[in-house]
């Protein structure tokens, strides 16, 4: 007996829309089993994991802080993935965005004024885009696999940041801690509603980016080009679109958005550079992109859900003493179930061997 995936003649529109919700329910069920095995009442654990972190207004601000980079990065990645270009290195582009954007407040700490912040954001986007251009160049010039190169560049970026904050950019007055100077006030991304919580303009950037990319993908010729080249490259060439240019476009657009997320995080939430500035946003955003069905508006919702898994992970760690790695487990299960549901929308499972042998017996 073997298991075969047989392509369905038609995709169900209903289940395509329901897929992320089914995946979420399956994740909850699997999570309940996980908590039960850990000896925790699943209901209590879910209360702490999913409800408590969003029960007060200041906590919603925290949610927005966590969701903003996820949405920004995932929106950019959705363009790549629609073009069938596999940028796995958003984490590195996020870090480079943070580093390049921080050139201004770290190297010119006395610089002040209303232009400092826009300059930082711009540099952050340039940094992310330039870093993303490396795997794009390698792919178009040497036909390398962008999954490998973009992923490996993440580790390069992480170690480069680590070296910077321990070496040339270390704060001389920082008592030897591996971190840069604190940014001055004009280099800090303002909070949206300081009276109720910490959420900053990064969340607004994320929403604006989502709307703009949605328009790009659904209404603009360039988005059409992305979709054609992604789904049938030969037809794209017939249309006169260049795959090589598309590789650069998709990589640099997603790199710029990841870089913007990076500098927004550094400037808005951390206010300095540290050895680690991301709890894996660039990787989690891959899950966000697929959970949001590569649709920028779906990604906003998916980003909020995944942000909640971060907060919930912290909450169960402090309340129940379970490792906050449980957040990673939930994220992983979510991606697994989303991809599983999507596969079953396109294919049905057929057991070969059972059916055939039964027909023979019947004869």
């Amino acid at each position: 007996m073997r298991i075969e995936l047989v392509k369905r003649p038609q995709r169900s529109v209903l289940f395509s829309a329901l897929s992320p919700f089914i995946a979420f329910v399956l994740t909850i069920v699997a999570g309940a089993i996980l908590f039960a095995l850990l000896g925790v009442n699943p209901l209590t654990a879910f209360g702490i994991y999913f409800i408590e972190p969003v029960s007060q207004v200041w906590q919603l601000h925290e949610l927005a802080i966590k969701a903003a980079p996820l949405i920004l990065i995932a929106v950019g990645l959705s363009v790549c993935y629609r073009a069938n270009i596999w940028n796995i290195g958003a984490e590195g582009q996020f870090i480079l965005g943070g580093i390049v954007g921080s050139i201004v407040p770290v190297m010119f700490p006395t610089l002040e004024g209303p232009l400092v912040l826009p300059l930082m954001l711009l540099l952050g986007m340039v940094g992310g885009a330039a870093y993303a251009a490396i795997p794009a160049f390698l792919k178009t010039r040497f036909n390398t696999n962008e999954i490998l190169t973009s992923l490996m560049l993440v580790y390069v970026a992480q170690l480069f940041l680590d070296w910077l904050v321990r070496g040339p950019w270390r704060d001389p007055q920082g008592h030897g801690f591996p971190q840069t100077v604190q940014f001055n006030a004009s280099a800090i991304l303002p909070e949206l509603f300081p009276s109720s919580g910490r959420a900053n303009w990064g969340f607004v950037f994320a929403l604006v980016a989502a709307v703009l990319v949605w328009i790009l993908m659904n209404r603009v010729l360039k988005g059409f080009e992305v979709r054609v080249l992604g789904s049938s490259p030969r037809a794209g060439r017939f249309a006169g679109f260049s795959l090589g240019r598309m590789v650069f476009f998709a990589f640099m657009l997603s790199g710029a958005l990841a870089g913007l997320a990076g500098i927004s995080e550094v400037s808005g939430a951390i206010n300095q550079l540290q050895p680690v500035i991301s709890p894996g946003y660039g990787f989690t955003a891959i899950i966000v992109a697929f959970l949001g069905r590569l649709n920028p508006l779906g990604i906003v919702a998916a980003g909020l859900v995944l942000a909640l898994t971060y907060l919930g992970g912290e909450a169960v760690q402090s309340a129940l003493g379970i490792s906050d790695k449980v957040a990673r487990v939930f994220q992983g299960m979510l991606l697994f179930f989303v991809l599983g549901c999507d596969t079953l929308i396109h294919y049905r499972i057929r057991l070969v061997g059972f059916g055939a042998s039964r027909i023979e017996e019947a004869r």
Partner: protein, 521 residues
């Protein structure tokens, strides 16, 4: 010899059905093949012929129905079961490794560990006894399509089959190569072997086959003796109704008309080790004329299409001139902007993006030429305009579809082809290059497409048609050139062109010697 139809039944098929999703590809098909007969399986593309033979060869499992072999019911679960029973098959698309020799390719398909030298000797002996000369040590990559087919046939004969299935064997052969093949088939019949011969070419079926089964839309619509039918009556059975003939009024004074497409010394190095180089191609297509390019598949037509369309550009700007302007260095968009339009051979995945709506597929080839009509400020696509334009094309070309604006993949091959041709005609291009305009299209739609190409030419455009279908080229062309091994012969005016002359050129005869060679055949 039981060619007169009195032999015992070798194969009987009763009620064979295969369902793909909602489509009944084969609907309760009956078929009887006697020992020692050549049995034709006739039908248009998409009639279910390939599905039927795949079930007979074990590569598809029937949904229901019965297959009897020598009177006993059998279940053919895999091609190896079919081979053991004595069923051999020669596919339309060869499965040969180009970097291996003929003998190595044959060895790969045999299950046992016979040494290559033994296989080569056997293959050589077999090839000469059936009049299919073949050097077993030659690299497949160096062989012509006809020679490759011989490898497939010999590979099949080595299994000592009782029934040989040939899927559209002459579609890749020149008329002369086809004659050789027919001799071989007649020799096999004389030995008492049975042959299931799949074709849509009526003349060769009438000439060779002892019995015929005609399929249409997955059903058997008739069994007959093709010798007692006329080509017209067979066509009626295949198509289901009369097909309107294409009207081609002769064109006066074409010589004086300006050349809208000029190709000068077009050469191209092979892109891959096994693709065909283009060798110094020269051709003028004048306003008002249709020029056909005949040739056996795989002689550089695909490479030629890419080079002329601008999917691949040239170093020398003057090698392609469109409406008198150098276009060699322009990409496909630049050439479209000069007034050219292109229809590639592959519909899904090349001429159209399968998962995109028809209106979006309209945009595919016309986003630049109709930029003002279809794309607004900031690159915003005018959805209403492209939908209206695609509806207009649907009406003009009589495209049958199930939804208002369906995905391209949801259309049948013929209807999608009508849309793709219509998409370009709608622009009224001054130069049009079409590769296989009616491949796999039913007869009615094919006639419509051919007629519209002629009309476009007569309204003053230059049309270049690449086709493997000689009947089609003779129907629509004012002159026919032949592509062989990357070279293009000078076009023969329609009045001088005959099947024999074109066939010799397709086989590689020098243009100047075509008349001479004809006498010696």
């Amino acid at each position: 010899m039981s060619a007169d139809g009195n032999g015992p039944n070798l194969l009987e098929v009763r009620g064979l059905t295969k369902i793909f999703g909602t489509l009944k590809a084969c609907d309760s098909v009956d078929l009887t093949i006697r020992k020692g007969e050549i049995h034709a399986l006739l039908g248009e593309n998409g009639a279910g012929k390939s599905t039927l033979v795949k079930m007979l060869f074990g590569s598809l499992e029937p949904y229901s129905g019965e297959i009897r072999w020598n009177g006993a019911p059998v279940r053919i679960g895999s091609p190896s079961v079919a081979k053991k029973l004595g069923i051999g098959m020669v596919f339309q698309h060869f499965s040969l490794f180009e970097a291996l020799t003929a003998a190595e390719n044959i060895a790969l398909s045999l299950d046992d560990q016979t040494p290559i030298s033994t296989i080569a000797a056997k293959a050589q002996a077999l090839s000469y006894s059936y009049g299919l000369p073949l050097d077993p040590y030659s690299l497949v990559g160096d062989l012509s399509v006809g020679e490759r087919q011989r490898i497939e046939i010999i590979r099949c004969l080595l299994q000592k089959p009782e029934l040989i299935i040939l899927d559209e064997p002459t579609s890749v052969l020149t008329p002369q190569e086809a004659d050789k093949l027919f001799e071989t088939l007649e020799r096999l019949r004389a030995e008492g072997k049975s042959i299931l011969y799949i074709s849509h070419r009526l003349e060769e079926v009438k000439r060779m086959c002892d019995a015929a089964t005609v399929m249409r839309h997955g059903k058997v619509v008739g069994h007959c003796n093709p010798r007692q039918e006329t080509a017209a009556s067979l066509a009626r059975m295949m198509v289901g109704n009369e097909v309107e003939a294409v009207v081609r009024a002769p064109m006066e004074g074409i010589e004086k008309a300006p050349a809208l497409l000029e190709i000068r010394h077009l050469s191209r190095k092979p892109a891959t080790p096994f693709s065909i180089p283009l060798r110094d191609i020269n051709l003028d297509v004048r306003a008002g004329e249709v020029i056909g390019i005949a040739g056996v598949a795989g002689n550089g037509q695909g490479e030629f299409f890419e080079a002329v369309s601008g999917e691949v550009t040239q170093q020398d700007a003057g090698s392609i001139r469109i409406r008198g302007k150098d276009a060699g260095r322009l990409g496909i968009t630049g050439r479209r902007l000069l007034g050219a339009a292109f229809v590639p051979e592959e519909r899904l995945g090349h001429g159209a993006a399968p998962r995109m709506k028809l209106s979006e597929n309209l945009l595919l080839s016309r986003h630049a030429t109709d930029g003002k009509a279809f794309v607004g400020a900031g690159g915003i696509v005018k959805t209403g305009a492209i939908e209206a334009a695609s509806q207009r094309i649907v009406e003009v070309m009589d495209v049958r579809k199930s939804a208002r604006d369906p995905e391209a993949a949801a259309l049948s091959g013929g209807n999608l082809q009508k849309f793709i041709v219509g998409r370009e005609l709608d622009r009224k291009p001054t130069v049009m290059l079409v590769n296989q305009p009616t491949w796999g299209v039913d007869a009615g739609a094919a006639a419509k497409i051919r007629q519209s190409l002629i009309e476009l030419a007569r309204s003053g455009s230059a049309i270049l048609v690449i086709s493997q279908d000689l009947d089609e080229l003779f129907e629509i062309s004012d002159a026919i050139a032949v592509m062989h091994n990357g070279s293009l012969s000078p076009p023969l005016p329609r009045a001088e062109a005959t099947f024999e002359k074109i066939g010799l050129l397709m086989g590689g005869a020098e243009p100047g010697h075509a008349d001479h060679a004809l006498e010696t055949v």
